[in-house]
């Protein structure tokens, strides 16, 4: 706990309402994401995890309240400046399968390249480092269309790392991966946040893994958003109430969900 007081907040949300013009998804949200923290966003399907991430990354206007990044209101940050603060990894987008792995990762350098997008030596180094970090240098000349889902996930993560932003948001980075690779990616996110001082926020359905690995958990449920440490969350009864009680139950003693 002493350690926490030293850390600096990078993103803060106050009295935030999120949703669309015809539907409020969640209200009265207060969040604080500190430097070098790994934060999981959990919640059942359709609870509004994606809406929250879209709003926090500036892709969706909030209905009311404020979001500030490095003490600056997100609405006053230009798209260009925002691209140097936040990088994203999405699930299933329609992208060009023709892109070479190194080209896709190099696109992460766009905020720093000239008007034609030409790479400087610094950009080339950043791309190389990102490829090394994810152990995919050997695939740099491959076409993205020829990669497996797991490899592709790594490529998109490398792209976000090459963008060198203090904040990375990922939408369900572990879908399509087997248990081993799920843990590989999440541990990598953890190491990354420690080693490079990045704050990493990801939406996930892997509550068990999130409880073990993350510094903070953001729970989206029934129009409410709660932020707690894993211990606090386990000791509250919020996880017991997450799912309908007919099939599954949270067991605080084993920190695990149990099939009934």
């Amino acid at each position: 706990m002493k350690e926490k007081t030293k850390t600096k907040p990078i993103l803060q949300a106050q009295e935030l309402s999120i949703g669309y013009s015809d539907k409020i998804v969640a209200e009265d949200i207060s969040l604080k994401i500190n430097e070098a923290e790994l934060v999981a966003v959990i919640g059942i399907n359709g609870s509004g995890k994606s809406t929250l991430l879209k709003t926090l990354t500036g892709n969706l206007k909030c209905l009311s309240g404020t979001i500030s990044i490095q003490q600056k209101n997100i609405n006053e940050i230009s798209v260009q400046k925002l691209s140097e603060l936040i990088s994203i990894v999405l699930t299933e987008t329609q992208f060009s399968q023709n892109l070479l792995v190194e080209e896709l990762v190099a696109l992460g350098r766009q905020p720093y390249t000239n008007w034609l997008g030409q790479l400087s030596n610094k950009d080339i180094n950043a791309v190389k480092q990102a490829l090394q970090l994810l152990e995919i240098e050997d695939k740099s000349k491959r076409k993205c269309g020829s990669l497996s889902d797991g490899q592709l996930q790594k490529v998109f993560l490398a792209r976000a790392i090459a963008q060198e932003t203090p904040l990375i948001f990922l939408d369900e980075p572990t879908t399509h991966l087997d248990l081993y690779h799920k843990i590989f990616v999440l541990k990598l996110l953890k190491t990354l946040s420690r080693r490079t001082n990045k704050s990493i926020v990801f939406a996930t359905h892997e509550i068990n893994l999130a409880l073990q690995l993350c510094d903070q958990i953001i729970l989206v449920s029934n129009g409410k958003v709660t932020q707690k440490t894993p211990e606090e969350l386990i000791n509250s009864n919020l996880l017991q109430e997450l799912f309908p009680k007919d099939l599954v139950e949270f067991d605080a003693a084993t920190k695990n969900f149990k099939v009934l």
Partner: protein, 340 residues
């Protein structure tokens, strides 16, 4: 990087060779040394040859290069903007807009009385009508692009404009005389050979404007390869980029259709053909490659259309389709899937 530069250089050499072959072909056979003589203003065996080369074949070959490269580039722009491998300049309804303009002038003359018939004699009337038609459709698409958030919706709107205009054209043809119908059909065959030097110059101006605008879109087009959400997260101003790309396509495809008629398949097929040779997706590399590729394919089509050794010239629009359609089918059969 070296391999791509080598491919580009090779493409340029093929382009120059094809340009020479294209100029040497025609109903009158002119020896190679006299072709060079007419360029360098040295002594030539027959002065008529110089006239044929300088005032007929050279402007036609240059038109082929401008038309091929311009259409291929606008095809690439559309495929990346809509992230759809089947997109081409026609998807925005530009060619249909031009067709409507020309149809109203040629066919409308018969329907709306004799008012137009005096105008039809001038070739410029057709050029202006085609340009106006393209610009109108372009403005309509631009106006909707301000309102529509999704580029896919824009694609559908473009296709709807195309069906609307072709319905009006059908209606006009139903009521028009066979003579004016024939005139319209001849325009729709497309033609590279009717341009004077002055017209080639005007086409060059529009072509250059379109190319310059699209060069400013290169970086954003690269970002768009990842989809719009990623592009925005990389600092792309999506709306501004969309308007610039549509404007560039309109200038390129609109002016080309106005001067050379609707020419099919070059815009769709060339980017895919080029992707077979160039493995990179960077538009900085694809731009020159696609422009060279389009010019090469257009010169080949035009050389075939002249039916070497005969006095006949086949309609260029059917030649590009006859070559383009099998190429796309062959690519699909070989690769199973086309990517943008």
């Amino acid at each position: 990087m070296q391999k791509t530069s080598l491919s580009l250089l090779l493409g340029l050499i093929i382009l120059v060779v094809l340009l020479m072959i294209n100029i040497s072909l025609g109903s009158v056979s002119i020896p190679l040394k006299d072709i060079f003589a007419s360029f360098f203003n040295t002594e030539i065996d027959k002065e008529t040859w110089r006239y044929i080369i300088l005032n007929y074949r050279l402007p036609k070959a240059i038109t082929a290069v401008l038309v091929g490269s311009g259409l291929a580039l606008s095809g690439l722009l559309m495929q990346t903007l809509f992230r759809n491998p089947l997109a081409g300049p026609y998807v925005l309804g530009l060619s249909s807009g031009a067709s409507l303009g020309v149809a109203i002038v040629i066919l409308g003359g018969a329907v709306f009385g004799r008012f137009f018939s005096a105008l039809i004699l001038s070739k410029w009337t057709l050029v202006i009508a085609a340009s106006l038609g393209s610009i109108l459709v372009l403005l309509a698409v631009l106006a909707t692009s301000f309102r529509v958030k999704d580029t896919m919706a824009l694609l559908i709107i473009g296709l709807m404009f195309a069906s609307l205009t072709s319905a009006v054209v059908s209606m006009l043809s139903y009521f028009s005389s066979s003579e004016s119908l024939q005139k319209y059909i001849f325009w729709s065959f497309g033609s590279l050979g009717n341009l004077s030097w002055q017209e080639v110059f005007i086409l060059t101006v529009f072509w250059s404007l379109g190319v310059i605008i699209s060069i400013f879109c290169i970086k954003n087009l690269n970002a768009l390869l990842l989809g719009e959400t990623y592009a925005k997260s990389l600092g792309t101003n999506l709306k501004q980029n969309r308007i610039l790309v549509i404007l560039a396509t309109g200038l390129l495809a609109g002016s080309i259709t106005a001067f050379a008629g609707p020419i099919a398949f070059i815009g769709l097929a060339v980017p895919h053909l080029v992707r077979q040779v160039i493995s990179k997706s960077d538009h900085l590399v694809l731009f020159p490659a696609v422009a060279i590729g389009g010019a090469i394919l257009m010169l080949i089509c035009d050389s075939i259309a002249q039916l070497p050794g005969s006095n006949l010239t086949l309609p260029i629009n059917s030649i590009t389709s006859l070559i383009g359609a099998p190429v796309v089918i062959w690519l699909l059969l070989r690769k199973k899937k086309l990517y943008f």
